[in-house]
Symmetry: C2
Subunit: 349 residues, 2 copies
Amino acid sequence: MAQQKKRTEIAELGEFGLIDRLTAGFAPHDATTLCGAGDDAAVLAPPAGERMLLTTDSLFEGVDFDLTYFPLRHLGYKAVTAAVSDLLAMNATPSQIAVSLGVSSKLPVEALDDLYEGIRFACSEHKIDLVGGDTRASMTGLVIGMTAVGHAPEERIVRRSGARQHDLICLTGNLGAAYMGLQLLEREKRVLADVADPEPHFAGYEYLLEKYLKPRPRTDIVAALAEEKIVPTAMIDLSDGLSSDLMQLCRASHCGARIYLECIPIARQTSALAEEMHADPVVAALHGGDDYELLFTVPLSMQEQVARLGLVDIIGHITPEPTGCFLVTPDGSDIRLKAQGFPESEKSN
Amino acid sequence: MAQQKKRTEIAELGEFGLIDRLTAGFAPHDATTLCGAGDDAAVLAPPAGERMLLTTDSLFEGVDFDLTYFPLRHLGYKAVTAAVSDLLAMNATPSQIAVSLGVSSKLPVEALDDLYEGIRFACSEHKIDLVGGDTRASMTGLVIGMTAVGHAPEERIVRRSGARQHDLICLTGNLGAAYMGLQLLEREKRVLADVADPEPHFAGYEYLLEKYLKPRPRTDIVAALAEEKIVPTAMIDLSDGLSSDLMQLCRASHCGARIYLECIPIARQTSALAEEMHADPVVAALHGGDDYELLFTVPLSMQEQVARLGLVDIIGHITPEPTGCFLVTPDGSDIRLKAQGFPESEKSN
């Protein structure tokens, strides 16, 4: 017989007791943290001469995650990844996060312990300090608000707007795996909805689940770029899908792009599950989102340096603005890229 | 006949169109803002030698506000006040905010325009820059996540933990007005629930409504403290109510406190409405919350300087930790303070 898990109501601890419990064991890693959680505001000491970078992100239950299959520990880790990834996309070093939770009373304190265990693990792995841990009642589902702070010297900061004609378009990792991981979880949820002791079938697709449930931020890429003395001309992280995010970069840089279908890296498990589910892995790669890989551009002259990174694929190049953004298929057809999920405002060529 | 108000669905604009529309017209005020909304992260230049201060706060529909009577323009303004107030409580100068919205599709774009008009007005009034304007779908109500950044020289930063025995406890403004404003709005909502063309009766209580719907952050106090060269030993902003917030300050400073009932400032309208509603204005002042006034402590020797501020009442003094936190009534009785809203863990004397 399964052991009954302990269940403590949030009201038993009170607001201060809860915050103390959740934020315990967060030892400061970063020298820029002078005063963390526990006062009206955190006090940070920016490194002399460097810029501070700031980003905020929110995850909503029912929109961004489904607690029926999303372990809270992984959700905490993923929330940190999502926030930190925006700093990496500026080529900055993440140093602090602040968490603002909205919690319905149906969640016990032990569930929040799990969530914070994931946050704590991510902070420890990436040497980030938790400097705020606000928890409020929410009438509805769980809401995770995440603010991330980082720093970088001005000359290393990469904006979205610097891509120039002929620049190479570079991509880390592979695409569509997180999206197929989500499809797998949704399928098993449907199949097992009325089963008493559900045993989902995930064998062979563990990589896809990990990419969806516990994506790692590409801190290694920012380190490798520094090592190779590469400062990209523009960079963005892939959270909405390659198509939408590339179009955002092009919009900010006032340029167009051509990317080549056969250059887009897709993992073996992604293709295998797509085939099993009669889905198109290219659609997953273009529009899936949640990949948290980095997309950046470098001048054509840097091709060799990029190759030395060993972690990056070159998938296309930047074109003049009036030509627009296109995917080139192996047979040479040009397909105009679209930002999925929003109404079309232009016709496909 | 009333003119039909224009209603634009959020989906008509798309995510980028919506963000562009909402964040338009936010000209940077502060020299520390190098790059605001529109990239993966904002880029800030901290003033040389100063500390950066960071705070996050969230407001949830149904918990923190009721849209049946809360005008969205005021809600935007109040959300900025709530975030900025935490920076003022550290004696810092607010410089940037980032807004993270969760929005249900039932709200039209025009409603978000109103919300942002209030945010824009607050930013302009307090010379703060909006450096992030993330908007996401929420399955449920409106969620407003607010991150505020400020700066201060180390020697002027005031934590909660510095109060010492015999220090004077000082308070800005008056208490309980916001709470009574809320009671008035709730009463009119109940009374007029089934009326076709409701005409609520607010005459004579306009001040209470303004304190609840559009509280102003006490930036004037931080300026006045600097002018008088006063650095408080400890400070906190009053968002949860005098009792709870004073207890937090004492807990952080390892001290007790005695405050005097006849010294607690209560506005005439607050007392009048409390009498009309058969409520106790002292309960409103102690536990009402939402006042956004500042509570601070100074050494006894600074009594004259504090008097010169002209904006502050001295309501009590700091005692040794073992004596606890008490309210002294005019007849000399001591009543132990409690943090309202959470279970008692100690008996009242």
